[in-house]
Amino acid sequence: MKSFTTGALAALESGKAIAVGAVEIGSDPVIRVWGGLRPITFDGRTFDPVGDRGLVRVAGGALGSSAQNITLRLSGIEPEILELLDASEVQGAPTILWRLIFNAARTTLLDYHIWARGRLDTLPREEEIGGTAAIEATLETAARGLGRRGSRMRSDADQRLLDANDGFFKNTAYAAEKKLYWGGPRPARAGSALGGSRGGGGGGGTGRDLIER
């Protein structure tokens, strides 16, 4: 849970907030940059400016759907960032992403909080002739699979993919997709209200209606 200060909440409420991202990448050396124009110190850490306003490009996700990773777009020509390409132990380096909220006059830091923690995933470079040079750092947050194959589900079907004779999850319930009718015409039967009779272990061997939990 993220707790905001009163001032930051008021600024967000009234639409007067200026939000800037800051990121710490625990490579060797540690890289700390933020999207401002001058160095800043908070939380006992000093961040170098990269002046990139679009520091965090994608930070999405919805409840119940597959989570998205976070893409940090870092300018590729800042010396602080170039260290990133050279740094050892970049792969999988622990990364912390903060969000800083300033007042409308950008003079007061109202709040900072950790937006996400994760590990550095891929680090593609993008250089465009006549365009921009940037590094895109993909941040894999904890418990997010980035849509890779091999993610596990606690279901009998999934377990049997590993070993057809392993019935460990045979009696374990798994979350199936149920449609609940809120309002609208009353379903004639209970079975149509809940959209099928799955829910028991081993019953849904096809796994078609499974959603990942």
Partner: protein, 231 residues
């Protein structure tokens, strides 16, 4: 090396200085307008050239050549308002309220942010009755770290949004945009009114000079710059 704008006979036909901000709007179905702004504002300049004589055309061409794309920086001022409106023919005959010749720079400055997030800049050491009109610029210049003193290679500016007049003791409070980041602009920076400028980088993709025509003239062109603000 930071180059000045070329001083040409033809001048600059049209100029627009704007404060560039990145907004993320979040309008809601209820009609409520939400949103958040990303990052901090910088100045952007668009200078349009029109019917440039042959000598000026050469100077502009040399300027763009010397910029080397995005490699070099240039000092850019609003050519439509390089001096305060009320003192546009010069300020050198003025004297400071406390005595001494006025060279266009205030002897002190400070910024206060009011409850509405307006930036009110108090300037001291001005001539009594010194008038600041809406749209006048207040420049701030300071030395880069490690640079020789009075090289003033770091510059930014604010634009007055309300008029102000210096009182009998030479002090004026002017409301201006965008608010200064006082952690970026050092307190020892010089606030000045003579050709306030900022350090800009050319945007080569959008800048262009039209082909050279009869007698070496060029019909027009546009030079686009965006501020490079550093501590």
């Amino acid at each position: 090396m930071i180059l000045p704008l070329p001083d040409t006979l033809s001048g600059i036909a049209r100029v627009r200085f704007s404060i560039l901000r990145v907004d993320y709007a979040a309008p809601e179905a209820s009609g409520r307008q939400g949103g958040v702004q990303a990052g901090f504002p910088v100045w952007g300049a668009r200078m349009e050239l029109d019917r440039i004589d042959a000598d000026s055309a050469d100077l502009w061409q040399a300027f763009v050549d010397r910029m080397r794309g995005r490699i070099r920086r240039f000092y850019c001022h609003d050519t439509a308002r390089d001096l305060p409106l009320a003192h546009r023919f010069g300020m050198t005959d003025l004297t400071r309220a406390g005595g001494g010749a006025f060279d266009g720079s205030a002897s002190s400055w400070s910024q206060a942010i009011d409850s509405d997030d307006n930036a009110n800049v108090t300037l001291g050491g001005l001539p009594a009755g010194f008038s600041i009109a809406v749209g006048d610029y207040i420049g701030f210049k300071w030395d880069a770290s490690g640079a020789a003193s009075d090289t003033f290679e770091r510059r930014t500016m604010m634009r007055a949004v309300l008029p102000a007049t210096a009182n009998a003791s030479g002090q004026a409070v002017v409301t201006a945009e965008p608010p200064l980041d006082t952690a970026l602009v050092p307190s020892g920076a010089v606030a000045h009114f003579d050709k306030p400028s900022c350090v800009m980088q050319l945007v080569p993709e959008e800048s262009q000079l039209s082909p050279v025509g009869e007698g070496g003239t060029i019909a027009g062109g546009a030079v686009i710059g965006v501020q490079d603000l550093r501590p």
